[in-house]
Symmetry: C2
Subunit: 365 residues, 2 copies
C-alpha cells in the first residue's frame, strides 16, 4: 500500500460560513440524527436513535462471533455470544450523545459531520457488566489501559485501522461499562454494533465501541488512532490536546406547533402550550434545573426524575403563548453546578458544543 491515496486529509477543506461542502453533505446523508419531536418519548425508538458510523457497517454472524480477552492478562480467554448471554444480565437506560453534536454551531465551523442538535438518543441497553469479566481474565500488574477493538476497518487521514478506544483501570472501576447485545428489548441491529458492543454510560458515544471483537490489557498507553488522533479538545493541530470523555450538561426542546418542511420553523396558535424536552449531563450527574427563555425572560421549568442514573430527565413548562415571533431556548444546570454556556467553547474538531437549543416560533393571531 505504498501509494495509498488517502494519505493526508482528503476532503477536509476549510469550511465556509453558511455553506457546506459535498463531503460534509455526504456525511450528513450517511449518518442519521434523532427526530426532535420524539424527545417527548422516554426511550428513543429503534431506528430513530442517532447513528455515527466511521467506516462500513460489518455484517457479522452471531454464531461465529467471539470477543477475545488478550494481551497482559494472566488468564486470557474468549467468549461466544452464547457465553456472554449466559453471564449476569443487566438492562440500563443510557442517554448517548455524539461528541460532534452541535458542531455546526461553532464559529468557525470545524470540518466533519455537520450535526446541529440531533445526535442524541436514549435506549434501554441489555448486556452484562464488563468488570467481572476483566477480573476473570486477571490483568497483570502494571496494566494501564484496556483497549477495545471493533470489527470495522477503514482509513482516516491515511491511517488504516480498526475502530478502537481505551479506558484505564480507574475509569473502568468508576463507570458501569456493559457488553451489550440488546437494544430496546430486541437483538442489536447491524448498524448499532451487532452482535456485541460496548456501552460506556455517561461518556460521549465514541467510547461505546460497536462490533466489539477484542479487549486487550496493555502495560503501555494505548495509541489507537481514535484515542490519540481524534476525539481530543485541541486549539491547534500540533497539540496533543485533552481527551473527550464525559458528556456535558445539555437540554433540548420538542419544537412546539407545526413545521415548515424546508426551514423547520414553527407555527402555532395562541393559548396554552406545553413546552417540553429532555435534559442530561455526564457520568451519573443528575440535572437539577431547566430554564426556558421566552422573549428576554427566563422561566423555571418542571424537571422530572431522571429515567436512570445515566439517562435524561424530562422537563416541561406551561406557556401562555401570545401572537408574535420568538426564538425560544432552554438551558440546563446539573447538581455539580455546571450550566450550559451561552457561547460554544470552540475547539478544532468541534466537540462537545453544549450551548442553547434555539427554536424559531411564530404564534399567529
Amino acid at each position: 500500500m505504498t501509494d495509498n491515496p488517502f494519505t493526508g486529509a482528503p476532503g477536509r477543506e476549510e469550511t465556509t460560513p453558511g455553506v457546506f461542502s459535498e463531503a460534509e453533505v455526504g456525511l450528513a446523508n450517511r449518518n442519521s440524527g434523532a427526530f426532535l419531536e420524539m424527545l417527548s418519548l422516554d426511550v428513543t425508538p429503534v431506528g430513530a436513535h442517532y447513528l455515527l458510523t466511521h467506516f462500513d457497517v460489518p455484517l457479522l454472524e452471531e454464531g461465529a462471533h467471539r470477543v477475545v480477552f488478550d494481551g497482559a492478562f494472566e488468564a486470557p480467554f474468549e467468549m461466544s455470544l452464547e457465553e456472554v448471554k449466559a453471564a449476569p444480565k443487566v438492562t440500563m437506560p443510557v442517554t448517548m450523545e455524539c461528541a460532534g453534536n452541535g458542531r455546526t454551531g461553532m464559529k468557525p465551523r470545524p470540518f466533519s459531520m455537520p450535526w446541529s442538535y440531533e445526535a442524541v438518543g436514549t435506549a434501554e441497553w441489555t448486556g452484562t457488566p464488563l468488570a467481572p469479566l476483566i477480573e476473570r481474565a486477571k490483568p497483570q500488574a502494571g496494566v494501564v489501559d484496556f483497549a477495545f477493538e471493533g470489527a470495522d476497518f477503514g482509513y482516516d487521514k491515511g491511517v488504516g485501522h480498526a475502530f478502537g478506544r481505551s479506558l484505564t483501570p480507574e475509569q473502568l472501576a468508576d463507570l458501569e461499562v456493559l457488553l451489550v447485545y440488546e437494544m430496546n428489548g430486541q437483538p442489536l441491529l447491524p448498524q448499532h454494533g451487532a452482535p456485541l458492543r460496548l456501552i460506556v454510560p455517561g461518556w460521549y458515544g465514541m467510547a461505546s465501541v460497536k462490533w466489539l471483537s477484542r479487549i486487550t490489557a496493555m502495560t503501555e498507553r494505548y495509541q489507537g488512532f481514535q484515542q490519540v488522533e481524534t476525539y481530543r479538545f485541541r486549539q491547534a493541530a500540533d497539540e496533543p490536546g485533552e481527551p473527550v470523555t464525559e458528556i456535558k450538561v445539555k437540554s433540548l426542546m420538542v419544537p412546539p406547533g407545526v413545521p415548515d418542511w424546508i426551514t423547520r420553523k414553527r407555527w402555532l396558535s395562541p393559548g396554552k402550550v406545553t413546552l417540553q424536552g429532555r435534559a442530561w449531563s455526564g457520568a451519573g450527574v443528575p440535572v437539577e434545573r431547566v430554564e426556558v427563555r421566552i422573549g428576554d425572560t427566563w422561566h423555571e421549568a418542571e424537571v422530572e426524575a431522571p429515567l436512570g442514573r445515566y439517562a435524561w430527565s424530562g422537563w416541561s413548562f406551561e406557556w401562555e403563548a401570545e401572537p408574535g415571533h420568538y426564538r425560544l431556548a432552554c438551558r440546563a444546570t446539573d447538581t455539580n453546578g455546571n450550566v450550559q454556556p451561552l457561547e460554544a467553547e470552540w475547539n478544532l474538531s468541534g466537540f462537545a458544543n453544549n450551548t442553547l437549543h434555539e427554536v424559531e416560533v411564530f404564534v399567529g393571531d
Copy 2:
C-alpha cells in the same frame, strides 16, 4: 393566520454548484438514507431503511387510531387497527425509493433534500389488501380519485396541509396496494407510519402515505398539495407537469473494499473481488440485465431472480482486480427494454434520477 411567515418559498435558495445551503444540510440531517454496504442483504434491516419525513412524526396511539372511509361511498365506514388486523393478511417484499433519490447528481442541482444514491430500501411489509375494503365501502358512480390523508400536518410554500396523495380507480385496480401495520415482522415504528400506512408497490415512496387516517372517494380530481404542487416532472415552475408515479429502472453497487471515512472512496487489495449489488424497476417489471463498467469496458453481471414482484434482484460479477484507480459503475435494463441513462433527465424538482451509480476505487499493489 393572516401573516403566515411561511408564504412563498422560504429557504429555497438558488443552489450553488459544489456547495450546499444550511437548509439543505438541515434536511440531510433530518432525513436518513440506507447504508450502501447493506445492499448485500435481501431485506434492509429496520432502522436502515431510508426515511423522508415532510413534517413532524405524529406519535399516534394504536388503540385510538381509526382509518375513515368517507366521501362518495355508498357505505362509508371506519376501522380500528384491530379490525384492519382481522382482515386477510398479506406479507410482501417491496423495494421503495424516494422520488428525490439522486437529486444532487442533476445539473443544475434542484433545491430540496440532497440525496445522492442512498434513498432506497426493501422491507417485508405486512397488512391487508386495500381493494376489498374499497369495494366494501361501495364507491358511487363517477368516482375519479381516492384520496389518502396522513395525520402529519405542516407547511410547504405557505400552504398548510396534512400530507395527502391520491390514486385513480384504474391505478388501484392495477397495483397491489396494501394497508400496512408491520415492517420486517415487527409493528410499524413511529417514523415509518405507525400504526397504519399505505404501501403502493412499484411507485416512488411519496405514494405510500404514512400515518394513514382517511380514505376519501372523490367525484372530482383530488387537488391536494402533494399531488398537484409537488411530485411533478416540470421544466419550469408555471407548468402543471406530469405526475411522478412508477419507479424507473436502477441499480446500485455494494462499494467494494474499505472506505476512507470522509470521502468514502475505497481501497482494496488486488485479486479476486466479488462485485455485487441490487437492481430494480417500477410496478412489477423485472430487471433482466445488469452490466458493470470497469475501466472503459462493460461486463455482464449475473442477475438473481427478484425477491418478489415488487422487490429488487441481487446481481454479482467476479472481478480480477489489478492495481489502479477505477470509477466502477453499474447499469440495469428491465424486461420492457428500459435502461439506465448515462445522463440524468433534468427536471425542476430533481425527481427520478436513475443514472449510473459510480464508485471510486483504488486497488493497491
